[in-house]
């Protein structure tokens, strides 16, 4: 589903080769120390890139706060509003039911996150820690779907959802992405890094499969699990094409579809659209900023592989 193949998600290349070579501690070498000039150059470059990546967001934020009487088209652009106001945010809510859209997006995202955490950790555990017939075939099936871009099957996926009676429902938006093949493989990879001996010792102690899953498996894959959760959330929140196809009723729109509706149908006022985009953007930034250390930790654990 589109949630799975979303470009915002790190890519795992599931390989049989197992764990990555041990990583060296950084910052412990004299080699690492930089000359003052190099430091200054590096910071200048960092700030330059920062302006390019963050600048457009700041400009949009500034536009959303500029008063209606303020000339936003001036030849000399002003970053700081001269008549700052929050009124456009209220105006967005008067134009489209933006808070309902936010609740809809949240509903979809929660379903997708929950489904992926449960479904992919269970399957990943079974595929990596338990022996059973056809295990390799099942694994191969999950791998095979990775080469298929989600957009290729989006039409027949819509047909499936429609036949289930879920066209034009939020559940229909969430359903196909609730267990992503990529996430199953990520969890499979994560569980594999746990030594088999630990499992065998637990078996000797009389632990059953469920106990091994809860007490041994899950605690050792927290990093990858949080990466799966973060990206399931971001993917569901940001998704546009799939909800656009499934939802026909403006009452049921998610935020992204609602924003497009706002800019396409109702408004030519850049301040209003800017306020709308900020309403969709700020929550996801907060989520990411709060959880970024788990994300970067997951990256180091190898949830992102190159």
């Amino acid at each position: 589903m589109t949630v799975v193949t979303d470009p915002a998600r790190p890519v795992a290349v599931p390989e049989a080769s197992g764990t990555a070579p041990p990583r060296r501690k950084r910052g412990t070498f004299g080699f690492n120390s930089l000359s003052p000039t190099e430091k200054v150059v590096r910071y200048l470059l960092l700030v330059f890139v920062l302006l390019i990546t963050i600048g457009p967001f700041l400009w949009q934020l500034s536009t959303s706060l500029k008063g209606s009487g303020e000339d936003i088209y001036t030849r000399i652009p002003r970053l700081l509003p001269s008549q700052p106001t929050l009124s456009h945010y209220g105006e967005v809510a008067d134009t489209i039911p933006v808070w309902d859209y936010m609740r809809n997006s949240l509903q979809v995202a929660v379903l997708v996150v929950g489904g992926n955490i449960i479904g992919s950790s269970l399957a990943g555990f079974a595929l990596s820690r338990l022996e059973f017939r056809f295990r390799r075939i099942v694994l191969g099936l999950f791998l095979a779907t990775l080469v298929l871009p989600g957009e290729v099957t989006i039409i027949s996926q819509y047909v499936t959802v429609r036949e289930l009676g879920l066209a034009n429902t939020l559940f229909g938006v969430a359903l196909p992405g609730m267990i992503g093949a990529l996430n199953v493989l990520l969890m499979y990879n994560a569980f594999r890094s746990l030594p088999v001996e630990v499992d065998q010792a637990a078996v000797v102690d009389g632990a059953n499969v469920w106990q091994r899953f809860i007490h041994i498996g899950l605690p050792s894959v927290r990093g990858t699990l949080s990466v799966v959760a973060i990206f399931a959330f971001i993917g569901a929140w940001d998704d546009f094409l799939w909800p656009l196809i499934v939802l026909t009723d403006p009452d049921k729109y998610t935020l992204t579809v609602g924003l497009q509706y706002l800019s396409g149908t109702f408004s030519n006022d850049p301040r209003l659209i800017a306020a709308g985009t900020m309403i969709a953007f700020i929550p996801i930034v907060i989520v990411f900023a709060t959880l970024q250390r788990f994300f970067f930790k997951g990256v180091e654990e190898g949830a992102v592989k190159g």
Binding site: K39, P56, P77, A126, L141, V152, I154, T248, I284
Partner: protein
């Protein structure tokens, strides 16, 4: 040796497997089946043979869409394989505050394509930031029609995709850089190799595998582009529908009374072949390079 009953693994795998079968495998088969019908968004559909595929041959919008896709891919490839690697090298050193920069550079990735496309729409507006500044500086006399000219619109969308992708590929490179032997860098530095030479002769060969993977990802995602072009063109696909992508055409046929899921499925099959070919070519290149 087994320490569990035979059905236990299946109980754990069944939910994920069900999803895989219902929402991945079946739709792949059904796409092929649907492409031989005239199914409508509301339902129904009868077998029409090769009619949809014949129509593909005469579809002028599809020709533009394929041309746009190729241009998209060719322009994105060099920028998105090189720039993120430079960024990764820049943020690799653990300077004070580096986490902030890493997170900030990743922000465009986290934002929805719809959000960033709406932001760029405003920046590239006839009276927006870019035109305003350029006019102020006297570079241009009138506003450049970034959003209404066929080619400018395409290149605006391409630059948006590149901008949004920088942080994503940077993180993948960053993970790969961690595996490039530090000893090599040190040894080279001791031998007096400049930073540039170390980059060319140590860093790049060290991340070669990642580079190939990334170029596959870039090509596939460039061919699948949707939101950026859709939003920047106001959902209309540019003047005369010449700025459509293949996915935009699929979306257009998925809706309304004019919609035709059969034709949309035929387009999906085109999309499949268009994305798989560069994937296989690059994977082959990778194998050849590995043998050499």
């Amino acid at each position: 040796m087994r320490y569990h009953r035979w059905f236990t693994p299946w109980v754990l795998v069944i939910p994920a497997l069900t999803w895989l079968l219902v929402f991945n495998l079946w739709p792949s088969i059904n796409t092929v089946i649907l492409s031989f019908t005239n199914a409508k968004p509301i339902g129904g559909g009868t077998f029409v043979g090769l009619k949809n595929f014949e129509a593909l041959l005469h579809d002028e919008q599809l020709r533009w869409a394929l041309l746009n896709s190729v241009i998209y891919m060719v322009v994105c490839l060099p920028f998105l394989t090189i720039l993120p690697l430079l960024l990764a090298v820049l943020v690799e050193k653990k300077l004070p505050g580096i986490t902030f920069f890493r997170t900030a550079f990743y922000t465009p990735v986290v934002a929805s394509a719809v959000v960033v496309a709406l932001i760029w729409q405003w920046i590239l507006d006839d009276r927006g930031l870019v035109n305003g500044l350029a006019e102020k500086l006297g570079v241009i006399s009138g506003p450049l029609p970034f959003l209404s000219d066929q080619w400018l619109l395409l290149f605006s969308a391409i630059s948006l995709t590149i901008w949004k992708g920088l942080g994503y590929y940077m993180i993948i490179y960053l993970a790969a850089l961690g595996n490039v032997g530090r000893e090599l860098h040190e040894a080279a530095a001791v031998d007096g190799a400049s930073a540039y030479r170390r980059f060319v002769h140590i860093t790049i060969p060290g991340v070669r595998g990642t580079m190939i993977l990334i170029s596959i990802l870039i090509s596939v995602s460039a061919l699948r582009v949707f939101s950026e072009l859709f939003i920047l063109s106001g959902g209309k696909g540019g003047p005369g529908g010449r700025d459509n992508s293949v996915v935009m055409l699929i979306q257009q046929y998925s809706q309304g009374f004019e919609g035709n899921l059969g034709y949309a499925s035929a387009l999906s099959i085109v999309l499949f072949f268009v994305t798989v070919v560069p994937m296989l070519l690059l994977a082959r290149m990778n194998r050849k390079a590995a043998d050499a």
